[in-house]
């Protein structure tokens, strides 16, 4: 809808703001305003300032933090191409150029964004926050026509928005059913200690990547004395190459919500929150339907399953394009309506989390697995996997393979086997666990996916023999530079330096000085960054330096230790702006 006037804006803001005037909903209000006007007008900011009694500076600082919020009007359509390495491998750059050229006389905002979670069906994009996949030249022409005719998004052909689930391999978890309330019943009948015992015996570890024992986390939270506890589902699936949580929420939200409800019964929470990444906004209605259905079935709300005094309900909070919000303490800040800056830990969220109350934050897949383990028992789970990594987990496989999609594997499965199944046996490398993960080359394909060996948050990107590893490094370096929250200097500056150095190697302009600087910065970030994001940034670059030192040497311009500074390139803008005739260096 068009930006009309002050009165309309103020009325809209007033209609959004709930009577409790809870400032932790600020981000949610800003997102609603963004999607109504395609930016956040000044009028809306001052109206929010009055109704929530917040500083303008605070509101603006929140707007500037999140990629999906604009402070100025850029056009009725905002198109963001997903820019993960897998999208690039599928040719997103030329599609971007095509769309830009077709719409050069139209006021639209066309840009890039980090991985949107459709790597198995890319190249992907978001139009005003809604996902469109499997882009090709034909689709781009179609989209350009729709925009030129000013067609509102609601009237675009549904076919454009079709999403596939692509579940390619099932094991015990996909083959069992849960989410129908039996798990909650069991939890209520047997009591929280029995549930914790089952989880403890199952050895279930968090599926977000860090692999902390779920039973332990719940136990700590349960023990924390407070008048209120919270359950938070981390659905901010931002690690490039991961899309399993999207599939779980879209095909089996019941199980995820049941897992959250079981957690609530154990820790004594009455309120749960699903933090859904902005890229998955299309799932909001679907999840809300499930929530509503469960309320009518007595699986959510007051006196759940007739159990007096067990009250629990769930709200969805949207993110707005910030990778760092997948880190649990940044996620909590974001839930509280603030910039997503990680907190000092300890205290950990289990004692001091959302609104400073004890909070369990678990990944979507963790809750989904809980719902199954409670129904089937711990032995059912532990008969798969390895001693330190029990059961199965989901991998999101994308890149150069014949059958990308979701694969459920027991822990301990080797990369060779996985590559054979997905049709990527000729891979030159696998990027495990996303941009912050490890690059595994063929000599390591006999290694196993597990916490003992190669741990992963679920991302599995295959690089075929035709790919240039430098493209991967450049893509990740840009990603980290963009997604660093900017709070601590080693990460803010370090990611910029890494991006610059990698770019020079990409242009075959590297030098010995760059190599040294890359190693120095990586070493420094490893030990001095404030949060996990910063500390894991160096992994992929150090892997490359160690495994492919010849590639770096081949891309050097000189081997001197002097910084390489290219004067010709450094004055390119000035030459463009001014009359270039008669100027030489």
């Amino acid at each position: 809808m068009d930006y009309t006037d002050t009165i309309d804006t103020c009325e809209f803001v007033d209609s959004c703001v709930e009577p409790e005037k809870d400032t932790s909903l600020l981000l949610q209000y800003l997102i609603q305003i963004q999607y109504r006007y395609n930016f956040v007008p000044e009028d809306a900011i001052s109206q929010l300032q009055h109704s929530l009694d917040l500083d303008v500076a605070h509101i603006k600082s929140v707007i500037s933090f999140y990629s999906f919020l604009n402070s100025s009007f850029q056009g009725h359509y905002r198109i963001l191409f997903s820019d993960n390495i897998t999208d690039r491998m599928l040719g997103n750059q030329s599609l971007y150029e095509q769309l830009k050229t077709s719409l050069k006389n139209h006021k639209v905002d066309i840009g890039f964004t980090s991985c949107t979670g459709f790597c198995d069906q890319g190249p992907a994009m978001l139009v005003n926050g809604m996902a469109i996949n499997k882009l090709d030249s034909k689709r781009i022409t179609q989209i350009a026509d729709l925009i030129q005719n000013n067609q509102p998004l609601e009237l675009w052909p549904e076919g454009l928005f079709v999403k596939e689930e692509n579940i390619q391999r099932s094991d015990i978890q996909f083959n069992s059913k849960a989410g129908d309330g039996k798990g909650i019943e069991a939890a209520l009948e047997n009591g929280s200690d029995a549930i914790l015992k089952i989880l403890n015996d199952s050895g279930l570890r968090g599926r977000g990547g860090a692999g902390f024992y779920t039973a332990k986390k719940w136990q700590f939270c349960k023990q924390a004395i407070s008048n209120q506890h919270y359950v938070v589902c981390n659905a901010d699936e931002g690690e490039p190459g991961t899309f399993k949580d999207r599939v779980l929420l879209s095909t089996d939200a019941h199980s995820v919500i049941e897992g959250m409800t079981i957690c609530a019964a154990v820790i004594g929470a009455t309120k749960g929150l699903i933090y859904l990444r902005g890229e998955y906004r299309f799932l909001v209605d679907k999840i809300n339907e499930v929530l509503q259905k469960r309320r009518t079935e007595g699986l959510l709300g007051q006196n759940i399953l007739g159990h007096q005094g067990f009250n629990f309900d769930i709200e969805i909070h949207l993110g707005a394009g910030a990778y760092i919000c997948g880190e649990e303490s940044a996620l909590i800040e974001s839930l509280e309506g603030k910039r997503g800056i990680p907190r000092v830990r300890p205290p950990f969220p289990v004692v001091d989390g959302y609104k400073n109350k004890p909070t369990v934050v678990n990944n979507v897949e963790t809750f989904w697995s809980v719902s199954r383990i409670i129904v089937n028992g711990s032995h059912w789970f532990t008969r798969k996997g390895t001693p330190q990594s029990t059961g199965t987990r989901l991998l999101s496989i994308s890149g150069d393979c014949e059958r990308p999609g979701i694969y459920e594997y027991p822990f301990g499965t080797t990369l060779t086997e996985i590559l054979k199944d997905c049709g990527g046996s000729d891979a030159q490398a696998v990027q495990m666990a996303g941009a912050a993960g490890t690059t595994v080359v063929p000599s390591g394909f006999d290694r196993a996916m597990s916490n003992e060996d190669l741990s992963t948050g679920g991302s599995f990107m295959v690089l075929g023999p035709q790919r240039n590893l430098m493209d991967l490094l450049q893509n990740f370096a840009q990603f980290f530079k963009h997604e660093s929250c900017g709070f601590c200097t080693p990460c803010r500056v370090g990611t910029s330096i890494i991006a610059d150095v990698i770019q020079r190697f990409k242009n075959a302009q590297g030098c010995e000085h760059d190599l040294k600087q890359l190693r120095d910065v990586c070493g420094l970030m490893n030990i001095s960054c404030f949060c996990g994001l910063g500390c894991t940034v160096p992994t992929v670059f150090l892997d490359a330096l160690n495994q492919h030192s010849q590639m770096f040497k081949d891309l050097m311009k000189t081997d001197s230790s002097t910084p390489c500074f290219n004067l010709e390139e450094s004055v390119s803008e000035f030459k463009q702006i001014t009359n270039p005739s008669g100027r030489g260096l």
Binding site: H513, S561, T562, P563, F565, L567, E569, S570, V571, S572, E573, F574, K575, I577, T578, N579, G582, R583, L585
Partner: protein, 179 residues
């Protein structure tokens, strides 16, 4: 005279504040000139740097001429010192890095108030501006740095005396604490 240590100094994109701080060593400058001879420097107005023992750079690198002068200094000086915040990290001049060069030039020369026949100056006599402003160490190798805006006179004196005595200059945490 031949035995004297030769020092050259220059201000690239800087405000000469660091050079003012050199002068703040007050009467010690009399001791200094006993030991050293100044080559190219705003104090001597010599235009070209010749072979020197120590080169001291103030300011960031913002245009093609800065690059040329800086590379000249690196070539001619045995030891190169970056002096002050702009030389170390870009400082105030690097604040323009948040904008494109064109935005900056338009703001000053096209959209500014009170301009007549406004246009972006492009006389060939003017040094070409770099797309972005750089700290000194991103263009040449630097041996020592003196932080501060400006570095206090005592720090400059410490560094010079250490170098003259053949010691490695070191600053205590106290010396480089500015808050």
């Amino acid at each position: 005279m031949a035995d004297k240590i030769k020092i050259a100094t220059v201000s690239l994109a800087g405000c000469f504040g660091c050079h003012m701080s050199i002068l703040d060593i007050d009467e010690k400058i009399i001791d200094l000139v006993e030991l050293v001879e100044f080559d190219r420097s705003p104090l001597t107005d010599i235009k070209q740097v010749s072979e020197c023992d120590i080169g001291i750079i103030e300011g960031a690198v913002a245009n093609a001429e800065n690059v040329e002068v800086l590379k000249d200094f690196r070539k001619q000086c045995k030891t190169l010192v970056a002096m002050g915040a702009c030389a170390l990290s870009g400082g105030i001049p690097a604040m323009r890095n948040h904008f494109t060069l064109e935005q900056c030039l338009r703001e000053s020369y096209v959209n500014g108030t009170g301009l007549e026949n406004s246009c972006i100056p492009d006389d060939v006599e003017l040094p070409m501006l770099l797309n972005k402003v750089y700290p000194v160490h991103q263009v040449v190798k630097v041996d020592y740095v003196m932080p501060g805006c400006p570095p206090p006179a005592d720090m400059i004196w410490n560094l010079l005396t250490a170098l003259l005595e053949g010691r490695k200059p070191e600053f205590s945490a106290e010396d480089i604490r500015y808050d």
